[in-house]
Symmetry: C2
Subunit: 312 residues, 2 copies
């Protein structure tokens, strides 16, 4: 079972109320791949970096089963760099620096062995790049999932809608769902988005959890599930939490090869669990030190958080 992951592999500089991290490893595809690697061992990465990226991280990804054939390394160039500062509420942040560097003219090329991937996760990137990845696939994957952000709604809406039309599962945050549809009610917004192409929608609400909407292909009925976020004592660094969530979710789906509502629910909980680890340390630090018992223990905490018995 192969999972194709497209997205940035990058450097971040991050300031949060808990401290600072300078030029640390980040990027959507990095977080997605690491989170997914706890569930599935055949991950194919498509991205681009400069020759400034740490060998140790690449070796670590390889060791965790991530195939780097599709990772372009541009000699003499610099990797994508983002710098941001979180406000005290951790829900909002200011972007201080965005240096596209190698990303400016990124043309994704899928190695032959990637082209029949069964699961695909398009991390947040310019829609044109996401489309070029889909165009190189030689067979229809079982699942194409994509993430995006408000920036593309503002600057490339037409192209974005073209890609959305071709995917099965869209992840998007609550504000973006509202922007994309002009509906404040997330239930109404979901109804619109499930007419745009995807039949599975995940609305991410940050510290307030995530909503899953599945449109039944037979009777068109929409099923809803809510996955909470784990209430945490401290959130050290929210960077990458959304990507980690997506990575845990698609990694779990690729492993189980089951796209039923019951299994999609579990996949959301696995994604939420991985995201709850991600924010406990800066950068990818927490995601490189987990083990399966820790993850299962966290899943049990999620179950306990929302479980109630009917009257005896």
């Amino acid at each position: 079972m192969s999972l194709l992951v497209v997205g940035t592999v990058a450097f971040d500089s991050i300031e949060t109320p808990y401290g600072q991290a300078e030029q640390v490893v980040g990027g959507a595809a990095t977080y997605i791949s690491l989170a997914a690697s706890y569930f599935t061992s055949h991950i194919q990465l498509v991205s681009v970096i400069g020759d400034d990226f740490p060998e140790a991280t690449l070796a670590d990804l390889t060791k965790r089963g991530v195939d780097l054939q599709g990772l372009q390394v541009k000699k003499g160039e610099k990797s994508f760099y983002w710098s941001g500062k979180y406000h005290s509420d951790m829900n909002s942040r200011d972007t201080l620096v965005t240096d596209l560097n190698v990303l400016a003219d990124f043309d994704p090329v899928l190695p032959e062995s990637y082209r029949n991937a069964e699961y695909v996760m398009l991390g947040n990137l310019t829609p044109a790049v996401q489309r070029r990845v889909l165009d190189q696939l030689t067979s229809r994957p079982d699942l194409i999932a994509m993430d995006t952000m408000n920036f593309w709604m503002d600057h490339a809406l037409g192209e974005l809608l073209e890609v959305i039309k071709r995917v099965d599962l869209l992840t998007i945050n609550d504000e973006e769902a509202r922007q994309l549809t002009g509906e404040y009610s997330l239930v109404k917004a979901a109804g619109h988005i499930l007419n745009m192409g995807p039949h599975i929608l995940v609305i991410k609400k940050g510290e307030h959890g995530a909503l899953l909407f599945l449109k039944d292909r037979d009777d068109q009925e929409i099923h809803i599930f809510y996955a909470p976020a784990m209430p945490l004592m401290d959130v050290f660094d929210p960077t990458g939490a959304g990507d980690t969530f997506a990575g845990g979710m698609v990694g779990y789906l690729a492993q189980t090869r089951d796209l039923s509502f019951a299994n999609l629910k579990r996949a959301l909980i696995y994604g939420s669990a991985m995201a709850s680890f991600c924010v406990e340390k800066f950068s990818i630090d927490r995601l490189t030190e987990l083990d399966v018992p820790q993850i299962l223990q966290r899943i049990e905490k999620f179950r306990a958080l929302v479980h109630f018995d009917r009257e005896e």
Copy 2:
């Protein structure tokens, strides 16, 4: 089993993106009593109104088992009046008018038959009035719950902390929990509040649900439960949703006489279910037309919303 409810019985004028309602029945104690009346039939109301309040609403409350002996009616005076306008996101609102009227010099007097109430719900009111109610009780209730708001933190913090010290259960929204403790993390804020007197804390997060924190009296461990809000197609009028939530919760607790963690969880879900009805129509309209099967059906929807199975 008696439930003593203290709070406002009032008029509201409300504007939401869905329409307007002029001079309709509102007030914390009204919403609390109506919601609780679906679970327990012995409710004792303490409040004050002018002689402008509709007889029909009073008759309706009486019919639903609400004892109005403790409701003072001031001849020639006007009932408390609030007018507000909700923004398009329904999460924020502007207060347009607040006319205290009879509330300005409200001195609550508990009829003899109220003084040994076993369950007490102090709705949002000036802390001095909440305290004067507690002072008239002749025996310690099984549960004293209270609601409050940021206004009293700004203007009567000392008195507020004195009342909080005497209650078992505090309901408060997320921003208020942060303001009261200076902690952004709700888990940390809960830790502080559970040292102020209450051993049960419910943090209301509006459309994002509610968190229950219970501090075990033996081992001091804090147990957490999360009750989601029902994702709704339309929220017509959020006025009274927090009070309805509290009313459903304490009504259920008074009926079941069980303050275990398992039962508190159920009480939160019942509260959430009642609140999800409340917002479907203006004023108290939805709360006067429910029946038990509708409520149980909504409880099942809540269970389905968050329930997931472990792997088969």
